[in-house]
Subunit: 251 residues, 8 copies
Amino acid sequence: MNKDLRRLLQEVAAGSVAPGTAFDRIVNKTSDLEFARVDLDRPHRTGFPEAIYCPGKTPDQIAHIAEALASAGQTVLATKADEKAFESVKALLPDAEFNELARTVVVRASDTPTLAGQVLVLTGGTSDLPVAEEAAITAQTYGADVKRLWDVGVAGVHRLLARQNEIDEATVLIAVAGMEGALPSVVSGLADVPVIAVPTSVGYGASFNGLAALLAMLNSCAPGVSVVNIDNGFGAGFMATQICRIATQSK
Amino acid sequence: MNKDLRRLLQEVAAGSVAPGTAFDRIVNKTSDLEFARVDLDRPHRTGFPEAIYCPGKTPDQIAHIAEALASAGQTVLATKADEKAFESVKALLPDAEFNELARTVVVRASDTPTLAGQVLVLTGGTSDLPVAEEAAITAQTYGADVKRLWDVGVAGVHRLLARQNEIDEATVLIAVAGMEGALPSVVSGLADVPVIAVPTSVGYGASFNGLAALLAMLNSCAPGVSVVNIDNGFGAGFMATQICRIATQSK
Amino acid sequence: MNKDLRRLLQEVAAGSVAPGTAFDRIVNKTSDLEFARVDLDRPHRTGFPEAIYCPGKTPDQIAHIAEALASAGQTVLATKADEKAFESVKALLPDAEFNELARTVVVRASDTPTLAGQVLVLTGGTSDLPVAEEAAITAQTYGADVKRLWDVGVAGVHRLLARQNEIDEATVLIAVAGMEGALPSVVSGLADVPVIAVPTSVGYGASFNGLAALLAMLNSCAPGVSVVNIDNGFGAGFMATQICRIATQSK
Amino acid sequence: MNKDLRRLLQEVAAGSVAPGTAFDRIVNKTSDLEFARVDLDRPHRTGFPEAIYCPGKTPDQIAHIAEALASAGQTVLATKADEKAFESVKALLPDAEFNELARTVVVRASDTPTLAGQVLVLTGGTSDLPVAEEAAITAQTYGADVKRLWDVGVAGVHRLLARQNEIDEATVLIAVAGMEGALPSVVSGLADVPVIAVPTSVGYGASFNGLAALLAMLNSCAPGVSVVNIDNGFGAGFMATQICRIATQSK
Amino acid sequence: MNKDLRRLLQEVAAGSVAPGTAFDRIVNKTSDLEFARVDLDRPHRTGFPEAIYCPGKTPDQIAHIAEALASAGQTVLATKADEKAFESVKALLPDAEFNELARTVVVRASDTPTLAGQVLVLTGGTSDLPVAEEAAITAQTYGADVKRLWDVGVAGVHRLLARQNEIDEATVLIAVAGMEGALPSVVSGLADVPVIAVPTSVGYGASFNGLAALLAMLNSCAPGVSVVNIDNGFGAGFMATQICRIATQSK
Amino acid sequence: MNKDLRRLLQEVAAGSVAPGTAFDRIVNKTSDLEFARVDLDRPHRTGFPEAIYCPGKTPDQIAHIAEALASAGQTVLATKADEKAFESVKALLPDAEFNELARTVVVRASDTPTLAGQVLVLTGGTSDLPVAEEAAITAQTYGADVKRLWDVGVAGVHRLLARQNEIDEATVLIAVAGMEGALPSVVSGLADVPVIAVPTSVGYGASFNGLAALLAMLNSCAPGVSVVNIDNGFGAGFMATQICRIATQSK
Amino acid sequence: MNKDLRRLLQEVAAGSVAPGTAFDRIVNKTSDLEFARVDLDRPHRTGFPEAIYCPGKTPDQIAHIAEALASAGQTVLATKADEKAFESVKALLPDAEFNELARTVVVRASDTPTLAGQVLVLTGGTSDLPVAEEAAITAQTYGADVKRLWDVGVAGVHRLLARQNEIDEATVLIAVAGMEGALPSVVSGLADVPVIAVPTSVGYGASFNGLAALLAMLNSCAPGVSVVNIDNGFGAGFMATQICRIATQSK
Amino acid sequence: MNKDLRRLLQEVAAGSVAPGTAFDRIVNKTSDLEFARVDLDRPHRTGFPEAIYCPGKTPDQIAHIAEALASAGQTVLATKADEKAFESVKALLPDAEFNELARTVVVRASDTPTLAGQVLVLTGGTSDLPVAEEAAITAQTYGADVKRLWDVGVAGVHRLLARQNEIDEATVLIAVAGMEGALPSVVSGLADVPVIAVPTSVGYGASFNGLAALLAMLNSCAPGVSVVNIDNGFGAGFMATQICRIATQSK
């Protein structure tokens, strides 16, 4: 970005760009809806468009943010969405797709790149599927190649060991688990790639809505594990995609 | 106990026991020191003598409680003891033994039974040794046969799988771990006997002094795991011994 | 298990088992549904089949997991189940039984053994019944002999003392209590067998959904108490059954 | 107090009291040291003088507050005091007495009344003594008749039942316990008088410095229990004395 | 109670009571319903009958416990009751009265004594009324004289000071407040009688369902305050009644 | 206020005010409804009338408190109100206005002053709007000039930097944010006026209903930030108005 | 700042400023020490220089940051400083002053303005003095007029009411309190200016190192209260000064 | 690994490997010290040798584990080490290097590869240096190219924007911050590579030893952030190195 700034200042000095225009370029790159300031510059800065976190937004607001992104040629990804949000988006963007399990609404930009590497998503149990699927959909939407490995929790560690092959082939792992959240620790001890741990709110009592799994994952005795928020499949999928982009760019 | 009461009342009716004596037997079976009421009836009720939890007690108080127990022919086991407590006990009971790692002081009663079965104590890491040793010493003191298996944490799950033989031979397992506390879940999936989980305060940051391990163990996705207090090696050793006694009595 | 591995390798060396077959036996013993990897090897490893924790699973998923277990001749036990889950299972397995209070669905394998010993389940109050009943049903399903003793909370400690006989006869106790969770401490002081403590979410305000009872039980001043998750009647019943199996095997 | 105000206003109207004097009486009744505003009016309002909580105050500050109270003929009670605080007070008030166990410094006013009724202080274990003794000293200092009953914790409930006589004779009970804090619940079920529960920080691990005992006591299933802060023997002794004063005044 | 036991043993010795009868009297004084063990001996031990905490009990269970108490001539007080519980009780006990605000169902025993003294219930705000009313109804039901003083929170401390007269006349105060829970501290500084503090779950955000008020009350800088559980109006009313009984007995 | 008291006492001394009248003036300035004690003196003491916090109050209670305030010529502001509360108020006060987003009901007093300065309300995201709007409405209702700047969260810090002009012109800033609550820290580093931080409950998982944002704001490394309760737009708007009044009075 | 940017771009366009120089002005205004990046631009942006938070920094680091600030003609204020930090600063800046109670090191810039208005700092008790003094020193250092009012806690609310005059004269109040933290609520009900609440870690047990006071202050039922971190006297003093600057600028 | 297993079984079948040898290879690859089971197979499985977490281990234990690793030609990295641990290691391994700030002891294997890409470590403030340096040393030790950027906290966001160049050049970012922990959110909005967030325990009061920063980072509104344990510089450095290895392998 600094390079852009230097060039812009030189253009101002050269008279090829007016000061007022330069000012606008420096301070102004958002699409202002009444209720939101869509950050259309984000792909430039961070490589990915802004995603829409649905809770607390009306279906109408979601649809208009989605439209602002799509108009700018950017991929739309709305998370924690419900049926109503989807219908509202679909009315404006007919290509929108809803994944009921993952609770995502997606309109993929046509120029989405195909990334190198492979993301392997593992879950501790069947109840962790919605969060795991959110991670998988996120990574796929942004161009990554994703494999799924469901229900390989640590109570039957042989189920996991039996899939060493898939672990060996992955570029990055996403380990999704609730309850005691031990999956990332065990997985990380079997893998030579980064493990992104996603605690889920699956459990009851002293699970405290995912706190137990979160703390366990943060305290993993196996290094190479980093953690995202409880139930934050999107965040894990996003980070995995960034890592795949490194693999892509390094080629 | 109710059988005792029925018999006692019949003896009162028969005149062979005076009412005052009966009253005393029903309500009174403790050794009153000035500062403590040593529960000498506990072996009768619970099968084991009272143990001495040292913190908050002066060396002098510890020594006198120890003496009251020893005088009644009962085993002395003082936990979380330091050097001073040991010396104070040793002055009164020269047979007292101090285990510096486990922080225990022991004077074993001569009639301690030898129990059937085997207790296997496992630790996640080297830093968990003091708590694990407290568990092991406790079980040994009360008559159990104890095996130790140190440093088989889940980050290298093959270290644990390599010891399936020892797991298969145990009557009851004590799994001691700090940090993410995942050991009991993995162990329980490999064993067909009860696993007593002991969270330790080993760790830092979001371990919150053992809270992370405690919550993880309570949320174990593998059944057959129950949990004692953080760093409570004594409690785990005690319960394991009770289970060995069931094995003994069932013979 | 290691014994099996040694034998298998000898058979490979002897040519009686092909390497590919050996490979499959070592790494592969699960029934793969689309959404779940049912661990059919668990009875071999842990002595009991996998149970089904219903929350977060659809009725359909529950039914298919149940069917996979039943097809393998294993007992089906689904916990925290509702009416819909039951109906879905019953459509596939007509022998399924629903316990509305305990919220369990059960299809018992015909070869379930009858275990030695006796499990005594105690509750602090009437509101603890659903959790206590889940514990009782679990133990019965797996072959244990179970007695129930309801509403003997510590506010009227004489109600508990009056039942010393039942306590004396038990092989293992399950003490279920909410609110201040004091029942296991008092019970353990009256018993010479292990006490499995189950905190319940019964209470309000500073009970924090069972946290108060959980912490109290973990801090029991009476040894011989270990604790399972809040409302985890299943876990307690399971562990009690393991202990009864020790009594059975030691005969 | 309103009676005083009405009378004062009438005196102003009658000219027997000047407005300025009345103003002072209404708004001004404190002894201003540089660092503290000693509330000498408190006995008038609340029946007892202000007590001195020592932590965070210098020995010098403590001594000067003590002197201000003593000069006004009021009883001095300093809590959580150490040797230095005591020496500093003694230099100004030679009658000051230090109780090392309870960590109190006391200079009793000569006109302290003798109160009716009896306060019975019970502890769960020997480690709870310092807090229990603070409660006992507080009640005695303010004129109550106090009995002590140490080490009657719930792990040996017979020790407590054996002392029903003493419980029956008390006007108010103070139950002091750490760990699982179950003593007040059991005691309250045996008594027909109020039980003031004092959680102590005795314990480790999931005791969380007394939090477990505090929560347990707040959730007591036996009514008639109210709770003061962790380790707050002073507060319990104070409230017990107020109750004894009701017994005294009702005579 | 010990007096009863001594006398009973003497009667056994004298032959006037058979051993079996004595045994029953010692260990057996409860009314056993299928799901509950109603503690009919409680008035004898604690001066008040058992109350019924409704949540977690079916309307049918509540009604049968109520009937067991009423049949024994004891007062029925059911708390946190709803319309359905009331109707179920009323079907068996037509005199039952429902207080919708306090959520209590009451059937008062005809021989309830009239107690000396006065209970003053204060609230911080209008939203605290349900809990305050539960306290007031409880005390009235058990025979106390109760006054109510609503909405005198500390944001307008003059509202409270204006009622010093009522404070001066009370035997015991119940201060009910949510949010910052400061009312008991201020009230206790104006009163020379015990203050029972009841935190309520009124508030939002960092109130954490009453935790803020609870902690504030436990840390009151004014002594003479003790605290019951969040929203536990019943507990406060019960304890206030016990204090009034002391005033009554001391007459 | 002391000035009023001095003058009043002089009038009593002069005979121009009767003692009884003086007494009433000193202790009595509230409007007593059956369920509430409306503090009509508050504008005199604090400059603003009492506001109505709706949760826990019936629509009827809300309407009568509103009427008592309006009758005294004071502005009515009811917060966290719903449709029903609004209708109930409107039936008594037809000028009442409902803001559905902010959940406020307002009846503005005709003599509300126009304050100097400007309040700038910023939000991190669209989901924070309801709380931000509550802050804005509150400040406007009490006479402040309010500007809104929505959706300038720190993930796109350029959106915020682009609005430095608006920040420079404000007298006081209200920064409303959920999730990681970083907005106030960044804003405060760009502003030379006070920042009132409002954490919102927007977020999920380890947001713990706004706790994460609250803690972050309290730990702001940028000084000049102070914090109100989670979701407490009203409190922030109120304090901002007080600061504008300082600007007004200093003119 | 945007005005500066517009002007700068016009100067670049006019050729009076080189692009490289403009670039540096836009992105570069810090003093880079090896271990710190002193933000010398802060007075320009926020009106006050950067302060030095000492914990975690070596005396040497503190001294060099102080020197960097002083060299730029800016006021030095180091907080939570100890003797060693002071000496290290004094060696480089001989005018440095240490306040032992407040733990501040100050070197005041000669051009510090004198601000209008008055800051009144109140404490609940003597133990709160260090934090209160930190607030007072901070405000004085930055040019505010500060008054102190110590030990007016709510247990003797008359002490506070007696000082209504001082409250009436203040422009902004800082209320410092530990334990139950009720002071700000009561004060705010007596004042028509903003109250900045500072919870202190004074207290024990369920104070949880100031958490109780913090939560209470956040839940204040009196509006006009905002809160800074526990023991953060600096933050409160800083914000109070900002408010006084508004009073100054509005003149 | 499965490939290894298949090949091994074929060798057994072919008779070129004895069954016993195969057994050993499958289950046994650790170096057994008396107190530890050093996992020498870890580089094979995870690409990096086991690191030594020092707390809870004696200097002697640390030294022997270090020696076991070095003997196997593996890099030694001991974290949270003190002077004594270093000296103990140095006695056995004279090449050991101690970094006092980072508290690391390192003996680098001669064949450590040089990795592609660049790790940029940023800190919020000077007090975060020890943790940041631990991250940097870890990454360097394992072969990564590391750049440091200290003291760019969000209170002066321009300091960070001024370094956009360095951010643009990095392959992966490590953002280390205490207090409100906002740095990763802001950084992630400026970067198109993964951000590993490290909360530190820097702060006081409501920082709760790093909990505030941890929660903030987990709730980052900017995606592409994942989090390790509080003060876990090692974990962050390790994961960053894994990502650099992906960049290396993809070349």
